[in-house]
Symmetry: C2
Subunit: 699 residues, 2 copies
């Protein structure tokens, strides 16, 4: 007999009410803290003269793009809203709108903070205060981290008040669909923008003209720095918001559709009457949402601890804050499962497994993108660009095995502990500390921008050394974060997939989800095409746009007298490059976006629920493999180039043939890791959540 026995059922509804209120309450507090942090950063000196101008140009360009993007996304969201209203119902439609709106809002607010933090980081760095500069960039990221977690908790908490029962939970899924569909567009658009500018500027500036990165003579550098904000901040923000919301909703949906037998294995209560069944189910549905509350508390403590960590090595500081936050969260989760009535304590182990899996995937990503395999790529660079590319692709392929084995182990262990609900909960643990994940991810582009601004406004070697170091840390954490994100996506997709199977099999009609069903196998094959097409479209968009950028920059260097020589009267036409990136991003994001959304709907309505089940499996398996491959290959090429530049390879340095070969690899890796890979990441969740939304219509 456990301590949490049946009499406790009587007070559980009251406890649940308090916890629900605390979800929204903590979300509101986090928003206020973000506002305070934002105001604190704003009070710091924003620089003067050239410094101020450059920062303003970046900020203006970034918001101009985001406004344009909004105009392109809004009609799509509007149409989807109407479609959902008339097919599924208004409840799912307005929550869809809310999810889409929150996702856009997270991007806007986060980018707002990032574009004031970048220049202030540069100013503080120019005063030779590296630790303080680190904190400005970190706090800039924190604003976004807090906003993402807060919007997620407020949204999920409010919707749980309204629709937190098994019978009405479908409306909550709409929220996830809104977040996912906006995230896909924002990530693809932002990803194309940033990489077109980055690749284009580097190809002409660094490779052809031999001038440094972010050199003010290069007309593409403003676009490049704008790209960091619209892609790596706003796009990434929408992405992480979506990941957090999707993984939580996946678990909520699994909980809402659990069979009585499965429910019995996750509660301590005897399910002998309708009231206790309903209460146990509500509790199972609320538990994943509440992990976000516990995670946010852990993050707030972690952010405070950062002020102590900053005294050590900056790279160690970021790693320590991540680990500390995870440990604190696990402690809080331990307490929750220990004391919460009706919830089996053993479920805590699924969260433990999930968190460890997240860390494990992170370490594997670090291994393949920043350690031994990189030396192999560097050596391959000595015999030219072709062998560099072969080695990078092989490294990327190699890196797929361990993360997938981790996902498989996490699924197996958590399923053994808590059935299908346990597996879903394992994924939740990976994103419960989303505020810190987002903070560190946003820190990267802020530090990168700070470096760009320093270079462009001529702040000098010393400042650049500080910002370079801050930037380098950001790169490694970004690579780890990407591996982690795709792992979480895999688990999310599996949860959503389980929920989908439960929904379509719950009716009276016989749905054969066996792999001997040729209809289902057809779905698997059709599903396998989608990730490769999305990768193909996004890569060729970057390639095409970068080509236009190269021609424009070459033209300016050729036609503007004195530009390349750095004459003070020769000014590059940066606006033209911003326009190229903007136009390319907006026109090219449509096709992959529409493909991702239309294909599951078409498969579902043409081939039926069985084929759609196979389709989800196909998209997930190929999407996860390709996503890991692209993220890690891209990261590996990036670091191979950096290893050579840092003199870690005997006899090689900037400008040698091996370095030139490594630059080719780095350039190929850019769209891999920052456009296609992240798009796949969202794709697999979007497709699954969409299937879940339309599932009731297929029966």
């Amino acid at each position: 007999m456990e301590g949490k026995d049946t009499p406790m059922q009587n007070i559980t509804p009251f406890i649940l009410f308090i916890l629900k209120c605390s979800t929204i309450g903590l979300g509101a507090v986090a928003l206020l803290l973000a506002l305070k942090l934002y105001n604190d950063i704003k009070k710091l000196p924003a620089g003067t003269g050239k410094l101020f101008d450059v920062a303003a140009a970046i900020r203006t360009g970034a918001f101009a793009y985001l406004n344009e993007q909004l105009k392109h996304i809004a009609p799509f969201v509007g149409v989807a809203f109407l479609l959902i209203t008339f097919t599924i119902g208004f409840d799912s439609a307005w929550t869809y709108l809310l999810g889409a709106g929150f996702s856009l809002l997270a991007g806007f607010l986060g980018m707002n903070a990032a574009t004031i933090s970048n220049v202030r980081t540069a100013v503080v760095a120019s005063e030779n205060k590296p630790k303080e500069a680190l904190m400005v960039a970190f706090n800039g990221g924190s604003v976004m981290g807090l906003i993402v977690a807060a919007l997620g908790l407020i949204g999920l908490g409010a919707l749980f008040f309204l629709y937190g029962t098994p019978a009405h939970h479908e409306a909550i899924i709409g929220f996830g669909l809104g977040a996912s569909s906006v995230a896909l567009f924002a990530r693809i658009g932002g990803g194309i923008y940033t990489k077109a500018a980055d690749v284009g500027s580097d190809l002409v500036g660094k490779t052809e003209a031999g001038i440094p990165e972010d050199d003010p003579r290069n007309p593409g550098v403003i676009a490049d720095n704008v790209g960091d904000n619209v892609g790596d901040v706003a796009g990434m923000g929408a992405d992480i918001f979506e990941s957090f919301v999707s993984i939580t909703i996946g678990c909520v949906a699994v909980a809402a559709t659990l069979s009585l037998a499965d429910l019995g294995s996750v509660t301590t209560w005897t399910l002998d009457n309708p009231e206790s069944i309903l209460l146990a189910q509500k509790l199972a549905m609320f538990t994943p949402i509440f992990q976000g509350v516990l995670g946010l508390i852990a993050c707030l403590i972690g952010m405070k601890m950062m002020y102590a960590f900053k005294e050590g090595e900056p790279a160690a500081a970021l790693r320590n804050v991540t680990i500390a936050t995870t440990v604190i969260y696990l402690g809080l989760a331990f307490a929750y499962f220990m004391f919460m009535p009706g919830v089996k304590f053993s479920l805590f182990f699924t969260l433990l497994v999930g968190a460890l899996t997240g860390l494990g995937i992170g370490f594997v990503s670090e291994f393949y993108t920043a350690s031994k395999p990189i030396y192999g790529i560097c050596n391959a660079s000595k015999t030219g660009a072709a062998t560099n590319i072969i080695a990078g692709i092989a490294t990327g392929f190699n890196s797929c095995a361990m993360p997938i084995i981790f996902i498989v182990l996490a699924t197996a262990v958590s399923h053994w502990v808590g059935g299908v609900y346990g597996s879903a909960l394992a994924g939740v643990a990976m994103l419960s500390t989303v505020a810190i994940t987002m903070t560190i991810d946003a820190y990267g582009p802020i530090a990168d921008n700070a470096g760009g601004i320093s270079e462009m406004s001529g702040l000098g070697e010393e400042t650049r050394a500080i910002t370079d170091k801050l930037d380098a840390i950001g790169n490694t954490t970004a690579a780890i974060g990407k591996g982690f994100a795709i792992g979480a996506s895999g688990l999310t997709a599996l949860s959503l997939f389980a929920a989908y199977a439960q929904v379509v099999q719950s009716g009276s009609r016989h749905v054969d989800l066996s792999i001997t069903n040729s209809n289902l196998v057809i779905g698997v094959f059709l599903g396998s095409i989608i990730p490769v097409l999305v990768a193909a479209y996004t890569m060729s968009s970057v390639g095409k746009a970068a080509g236009l950028m190269v021609e424009e920059i070459r033209r300016q260097f050729r036609e503007i007298p004195g530009l390349l020589e750095g004459r003070s009267d020769a000014k590059p036409d940066v606006q033209k490059c911003v326009e190229i990136s903007t136009r390319a991003a907006l026109s090219e994001m449509r096709l992959p976006g529409i493909l991702a959304i239309a294909s599951p709907v078409a498969v579902g309505f043409i081939f039926g629920a069985e084929a759609l089940g196979g389709f989800l499996l196909g998209v997930t398996v190929v999407g996860v493999i390709l996503g890991i491959f692209m993220a890690n290959a891209g990261g590996a090429w990036d670091n191979a180039k950096k290893f050579i530049e840092q003199g870690l390879i005997a006899g090689e340095k900037k400008g040698t043939d091996a370095h030139k070969a490594a630059v080719v690899g780095d350039t190929v890796g850019d769209p891999f890791k920052d456009t296609s890979g992240p798009a796949l990441n969202i794709l697999i969740k979007l497709v699954s959540i969409l299937a879940l939304v339309i599932a009731p219509l297929l029966k």
Copy 2:
């Protein structure tokens, strides 16, 4: 009431006996024809002096490698033979040995013909007789085509005599396993050999030293030409033999395990007594084998027609002979299904669908590797190697969609016509004309070698122009053949997969092959890792070996005085390069080979029959996608370089920056299309056939 009514049952056993005899008989005839053709070629002049020496060096190197490879494969085959004897039984073990032996034999005999035809093609070309030269290369390929088809028919025909009943058919599967496992080693070993030599020689010779391909000063050229024989002839031969045998056996296995209801839908007889059931089933099992007989008859007619076709354009001749053979085969198949008692005529349509699908996939491959998308890659080359690589990868990804849609359509239509048996039969149609497929595939490296020999022995511009043209046709047909091969592999894997599911579900134990079974999903994910790891290992093997080759060739150019200047007393040490390729191929083929064989066995015995079912699905889906991607991306890069060299891109030619960028892409594409891609092709069948062999042990 159809014409083929029940009374016909009485004479059917007799008809079946005649057809079985004709299978072995036609196989024997084809072997004799191959011998005659071989002797005819041998009578042609073999050249003198330098010409003779170069050809002899290639032939000696190729056989030396094949002997070494045999020493490495033999112990593996021996161990497998013992393992099978003691776990499955002696019947499957000796057929395994037979399959392995036939596969090795096909490679040896085919390469024997190829290495006498290459130099004779060069001699005939030097006499300025292009049409005759085409015929020598074609006939050299025909020897191999006839041998592959003959060995397949003799093996399958003889085994059907011994084990052609549902109760004993497992022993026939052993034959397929032998063919598959040898093919994997031969393909990987040969693929690493040829690409290490090719990439290494090109990187130093063409790119660094600026000397032509196959220039006698380059120490790597003999190894490169040896590689064409051991990889593209012997390896490819084992590969195609395996494809033919596997697809036939997959259909035999499906037929042997059909349920009574499914059997009823493929026969015209009423299945009301055990005799008619058994006879109908034997007929269903024999039908796929007999398609090989009909196909071989069509090929023999096609080979005769080639003497007429050769008068037109050589490219058209090869295309026409393929189409004519397919049409003749379909006519014969039409007659078979029309007149054969007990076989439903409607099944003919599955063969029609299969043949059309094969052609369709071939056309798609041609589109993506030789038409519009190539101009996109060429344009991308103008902005450097990085954009060339990005464009090539995007093209490869894009090219995956249509072939998979074709496979899906073929599966759907043939399943609708004839259930799971119909789908299996559709695949058989794609390889029934294997003799012509093999002929054209072997023609390519013979023509390529003829060019190499001409260049190395200084036969002059005119001869080289003829051999270049013959070679160019071979390249296009090779690209088409590769797309076709992966399509056929996909269908084969699906048949074998269906047979596996039937076997594991036939017992009394409940096997849940539903995708809601987490065990099965774990299998899918584990399966998805294997193709990427095989791709990673084979690519990095080529990269590493090519690196060694580059260093050796650079060393020789540096240390042998007068070599690069072409002084007559300066001789390259070609043997050293042959050794590097040999050593690399033999040591590097082990890991991917063992992974492919050990992984399904491990998954089956550790996680059970359900996980192994998922595993097969994962390997197939990811293997097919990756295989198409690698084959087509490689072909596209190859042709992009050729388009520039042929002056099809305004302002670009050999030596321009765009051409240099295209050479990088071509070099990356080499292991894609000739090492990793083909390995994946065999992998997916090997894994499925292995699962089918161990399936009875898992129950």
